[in-house]
């Protein structure tokens, strides 16, 4: 059975790898599973056929035979459970790796999304300049604690896991703000993640969809 995922026909980030299909592509590359991609337009994302697969009208979705999943965290988790390579065998270590997946999505990403909203959705509002430092400090707070926990380790808990994949994917969204560089060990952690061959293949694959055409 072929795994099929969906991705933006034209990603709003222009191929910088921030669209969430990149996380799923990365997971599939780490576990060595081939996949096909169905590109979806913004219009089609809000139509009944796509909403049947993804009730919130987003990408990515994941199809494998009868199974249809949405929600990036759930898809990456499913891949990590199903194929070896992204979760440790030891039960306790496995539970801790899964914990870091949830931490990336529930503790780090919400203030990151708030910061993105402040720029993209409220950048032209009269309060934008005065408010941004407040929002940035909400990102710094958990990042500082994450930096303390990581310390000098390569990955968050032993070997690279789905928890690191998700955390690095969230940290990628912070880099453009400059805030990540305030934490040298987190910047190095992200660089280590990006240097993984599986990440490079995933990044290249999404870029191939989104790169500017010939002049």
């Amino acid at each position: 059975m072929t795994i099929t995922i969906t991705a933006f026909e034209h990603s709003p980030d222009g191929g910088r790898g921030l669209a969430r299909d990149t996380r799923v592509r990365w997971a599939l590359e780490e576990v060595g599973q081939p996949y096909e991609v169905r590109l979806v337009s913004f219009k089609a994302m809000k139509e009944p056929a796509h909403l049947a697969a993804h009730p919130f009208g987003q990408i990515p979705t994941y199809e494998d035979g009868d199974l249809v999943l949405f929600e990036t965290g759930a898809i990456v988790f499913h891949i990590a459970q199903r194929y070896p390579g992204l979760l440790p065998d030891d039960a306790n270590a496995r539970a801790r790796a899964i914990t870091w997946m949830f931490a990336a999505l529930s503790t780090i990403e919400p203030p990151v999304l708030e910061m993105a909203n402040a720029k993209l959705l409220e950048g032209d509002r009269p309060w934008a300049a005065e408010r941004m430092p407040l929002v940035q400090d909400r990102v710094r707070k958990p990042l500082g604690l994450l930096s303390n926990r990581l310390g000098g380790a390569d990955w968050l808990d032993g070997e690279f896991s789905a928890g690191d994949l998700m955390m690095a994917s969230v940290l990628l969204r912070i880099r453009a703000s400059g805030i990540l560089d305030e934490y040298a060990n987190l910047a190095a952690y992200l660089a280590r993640a990006e240097a993984r061959p599986a990440y490079k293949r995933a990044f290249a694959a999404q870029l191939a969809v989104n790169k500017p055409g010939p002049p």
Copy 2:
């Protein structure tokens, strides 16, 4: 081995059940596992002993023998994996139930947290009144789609699952705003969740810690 969780010594919500230990208590009640609670002061939450268990200095944590977990989603998931009662046996149905856990935490909760921040952290700022409707509309957008998906069903995908537990827990945080009542089926869904005996026991247990003392 006894399961021990941590909770606020004094919950900021005064026992309304919004602190995240309630989600873990609820999960443990659904699967019928006894547990002990260690209360933690705001001061102790930021000290090294607690940070060793929870790098972000929050509650709840979960201890069971050698295993120490943090992050509510991860803890509820661990309980749901380990004990029967919160996830279906069928592999595909199980993956879909897990998907709803991630959807609650990654799609619905971030705008809900942003709305809470707008009130609690920015309520006295000059932009508070003009900005709040924007933030509320960011909550309405996924709620409307969630309402469409739920339709007339009792639960999100078949039987009650850890996905419903997490979704109802997030919806609880919206109720005070009045926005949830704009979606009659979601308000009824939450009422169904709150009527579960396991939820009632969890709510009562956290209230017993937080209720005002005798006069």
